[in-house]
Point group: D2
Chain length 140, copies 4
């Protein structure tokens, strides 16, 4: 089992998109996730500390993210966490990376227009038709 | 700790939006999540069985979801699972509900245009300015 | 991406353990997860509604769970959710299953004694030795 | 929404337990989570890179963890991720902390004996009694 993480946050750098010599699209950007907590004495929500991540997407998700996500957008990300130490010259540091399995704009903070480019719409119809009758009854 | 769930799936019904007499916005729709698995003999990905959910959003997220999400969109949802038995006349059934904490279009399947309506852009600037220098160095 | 779920709850039936004719160990039991919420008028935590699951484990996890978990234990489970409609004679219903990736006793509710049967202890030593010096420094 | 994470890993340091002057029990230890992947050319599972965390538990969970968890145990942890930069003299670094919501021994790797110290067993009986008949039918 991988280290599975779910994050909502603010895109802090304009996403950078590259295609490797093998033809693999990769998109990455910095994400700031600020915890909010209710201050009972002040009776309002206040910002807490911020977690910083490097989010990386591959393949189709990378291409669509590069076309769709801009700096200062609010997004949600589901993925695997990877923590890596780095060293260069006399400096050391830690990079906290999320390998994204799914990315979407966070509709708590705004509205979105979606253009589906993969998977025929007919899939929706056929899947819907397959919904069991008993479950559908709970809708009424 | 609540029963915490992460789902990607297909919106199977047009979202319904209501505002209660107390002024609470609520949006709900059916979501179909189909597991895909790699068939090694056929050497291709095939659709497995489908999980069906009723997704419900409240407040700001409800309003934005109603304006943004349409039937046959691909989305990702993070939330709490609630399983409820129901009974009416001589019928019984089970409703599997996700109370959404966050909803976004799934950028694996298409592109999205986001319009941020809440939170000033200046927040982005100030948060970015606060990024620690040592972490920023990992970007280079 | 599978429908990924995290649950804490009460084991409601004694786990049943079988080994298939192919030699695959399977253990399953019912799990009740009761949401607790703070009642502000009564100023205390009260039990909310209960989610019921069938938890299923395979292979090594199945064998250890059968030896370790009893009815009325408190556990935590990480796994994939599978929702299946069933029909028999004139009855229909819904089974909500969690295919467990990991199971453990929930140490919020009691104490546990663990006997490691897989993976040599030497792994712990060697992994520890590998901890980067810079990170270890944060411990002091 | 907090940065929600699920981890399985190896306890790399003996847990340290303190009680603050205000009477708050706190337990913390280092956890190493090594990703395993299937090497198709060698046809076996191999260890990948390792994520290192500081896991911290509070209150009842802290007390039980200190009594139950030892160095080189395999555990699973569900909690909130907190990333903090630190600086002392001329050194800087990053601490990656998981504030645990639940901890348990990972039954994939061994067996456990659990002693429940909180919550009367009668709760189990009453909850079980409350299981809806229709769902129970799926068990047969």
């Amino acid at each position: 089992m991988s280290d599975h993480i779910t994050i909502t946050g603010l895109v802090a750098t304009q996403p950078r998109h590259i295609v490797t010599s093998e033809g693999l699209p990769i998109t990455s950007f910095r994400l700031a996730s600020t915890q909010r907590r209710f201050d009972t004495s002040a009776e309002k929500w206040i910002d807490g500390e911020t977690n910083w991540y490097t989010v990386t997407a591959f393949r189709q998700l990378a291409t669509h993210t590069a076309e769709s996500v801009d700096k200062s957008d609010r997004i949600l990300v589901v993925g695997k966490l990877r923590i890596r130490e780095w060293e260069s010259d006399d400096r050391t540091g830690t990079n906290i990376e999320v390998e994204a399995e799914a990315i979407g704009h966070d509709l708590t903070w705004g509205t979105g227009v979606f253009t589906r480019t993969h998977g025929a719409a007919i899939t929706a119809e056929s899947e819907e038709a397959a919904e069991p009758v008993t479950t559908a009854a709970t809708q009424r």
